[in-house]
């Protein structure tokens, strides 16, 4: 199942980077596309803004078919305080003075990016434990995105979208 989780994340990451190269974040000193998997990073009490944070939640495995079929629920959380100016390297440099009045638009941009990045809703399963990553024999596929309601925490807007990711467990796969 780890290969399916990695594949889903890498598919989204590549697509988001293409859609909006300016959406970046600094993770452990490195500038990366603005999407992370929470369980792959150091624990943090803070909320990342203007980036997508993936959290794997429910898991169900149907063992009765020719290959076990795993269904994994992925919450995609994102938040924004409004427009932020970015340096050419893509790092946050401070507010633009919009006073957060564009936070709805910024959240809308992230909604739209996610809608686009989710398509097409399948990808060849890859084993990223190998270098270079190796294509496996089946494809990972996923459901439509279900968008949760916007929550306002102070002036910060947050949303959680959920995607159900499916993958067949190939022989010998963890």
């Amino acid at each position: 199942m780890q290969n399916a989780k990695d594949t889903f994340y890498m598919a989204l990451r590549g697509r988001l980077a293409e859609l909006n190269p300016a959406r970046t974040m600094v993770v452990r000193g490195a500038v990366r596309p603005g999407i992370v998997v929470e369980e792959n990073e150091l624990p943090s009490a803070g909320t990342s803004t203007d980036a997508f944070v993936l959290q794997w939640t429910a898991l169900k495995v149907d063992p009765h078919g020719p290959m076990p079929l795993a269904a994994m629920s992925c919450d995609i959380r994102y938040a924004t305080d409004g427009a932020i100016a970015r340096t050419t390297a893509g790092t946050t440099a401070g507010t633009t003075g919009n006073g957060g009045m564009d936070r709805g638009r910024m959240l809308g941009e992230m909604d739209a990016e996610l809608v686009q990045a989710i398509e097409p809703r399948s990808a060849m399963k890859m084993n990223y434990a190998e270098t270079p990553a190796a294509a496996m024999a089946t494809r990972v596929f996923w459901s439509d995105v279900v968008f949760g309601a916007v929550k306002a925490v102070g002036e910060r807007l947050t949303r959680t979208a959920t995607v159900l990711v499916f993958a067949y467990q190939e022989a010998g796969e963890l």
């Binding site: 020719p66 290959m67 079929l69 024999a137 494809r139 596929f141 499916f166 067949y168 190939e170 022989a171």
Partner: protein, 325 residues
């Protein structure tokens, strides 16, 4: 499970939606358009091979096999000795997600008529009053550019709908270019009206630009470049009726794209409408409802050139790469 040779077990296809494609049946000869999955089964869904036309996604696609298999009984006590197909029948029902002239025509089951712009003072009529005179086309017209000349072009506006076809010539039989869109039982029945062919034709388009006496269409006319004698009639919309004697018939292809790269194709060379115009309402949020065109069709037989068997439908399966078979 995958084996040492890299193959994985063949799994049941998982699909999201069904895509429908249309091709004409030559009603005069009864010749259907045959889809060869061996040659073209892997086509890109957005680019079907000619002459297939994309009808878009469909919902609630349902196939029904209504073939009756009965036993041949003999002996004492009577026992089943063999079986025969006493009746072979198949039907298809679906709802179109897209509204267009073709979808309307197929779902209506009978003639799908064009509401031609009426002549001044025309008496009211349910399927449109007497139409204004058609406009001749210059010979340099193409499937996307209708040269009507500067004077006639002034009568059109960007966004207008047009029907392009020949005048009705007083003969009986099927009428309509590209697709037989109706059947004329007698010239008297249609009032020997020259516009009748354009009233039922499926060869329609929308004006996307006007320049130099030429109407630029938003998409190519399905019948291609206008043939000699074709004229243009402006129209305001479409109308179909419950009743009538004509049955729409088409060659159909339905594709289910599997999530593993596998594909299931259903090819019905001849489908005839088996119900009148029907819609299904899909609730969006009170009081909003989406209106979907609903069609139901009965399959008619063709002879398979491989062995001469008369069949109604071909189901093809293209397995995913590296899946066991």
């Amino acid at each position: 499970m995958s084996g040492a040779n890299g193959l994985v077990a063949g799994v049941a296809p998982v699909t999201r939606r069904v895509r429908a494609y249309f091709a004409p049946v030559n009603r005069v000869t009864g010749a259907a358009t045959i889809f060869d999955a061996a040659q073209s089964g892997g086509f890109a869904l957005d680019a079907p091979p000619a002459p297939w036309v994309d009808l878009g996604w469909v919902k609630n696609f349902t196939r029904r096999c209504e073939t009756k298999v009965t036993a041949m009984l003999a002996g004492a006590p009577v026992m089943a000795q063999s079986q025969v197909r006493a009746e072979v029948e198949a039907t298809v029902s679906l709802e179109f997600e897209r509204w267009g002239k073709l979808q309307l025509a197929l779902a209506s089951g009978t003639q799908q008529m064009n509401l031609l712009k009426t002549a001044t003072g025309a008496a009211a009529n349910g399927s449109g009053g007497v139409a204004e005179a058609a406009i001749a086309l210059n010979p340099d017209s193409t499937a996307t550019a209708l040269d009507v000349g500067a004077t006639a072009a002034a009568q059109f506006s960007v966004g207008d709908l047009v029907a392009v076809d020949v005048d009705y010539g007083g003969t009986t039989g099927y009428v309509g270019s590209w697709v037989s869109a109706g059947y004329v039982k007698s010239a008297a029945a249609v009032g020997a009206n020259a516009n009748y062919t354009r009233r039922v034709t499926l060869n329609v388009g929308r004006v996307a630009g006007i320049s130099g006496g030429v109407l630029q269409l938003g998409a190519a006319l399905p019948a291609g470049a206008p043939a000699a004698g074709m004229q243009v009639s402006p129209l305001v919309g479409f109308v179909d009726r419950e009743g009538g004697s004509f049955f729409q018939e088409w060659s159909a292809l339905f594709v289910m794209e599997g999530e593993q790269g596998d594909r299931v194709l259903y090819h019905y060379p001849r489908l005839q409408a088996m119900q009148g115009s029907t819609e299904k309402m899909a609730a969006l949020a009170e009081p909003l409802e989406q209106v979907r065109l609903a069609g139901a069709f009965r399959a008619l037989p063709v002879k398979d050139a491989a062995d001469g068997e008369m069949v109604l439908c071909f189901r093809s399966y293209l397995p995913a790469a590296m899946s066991g078979v």
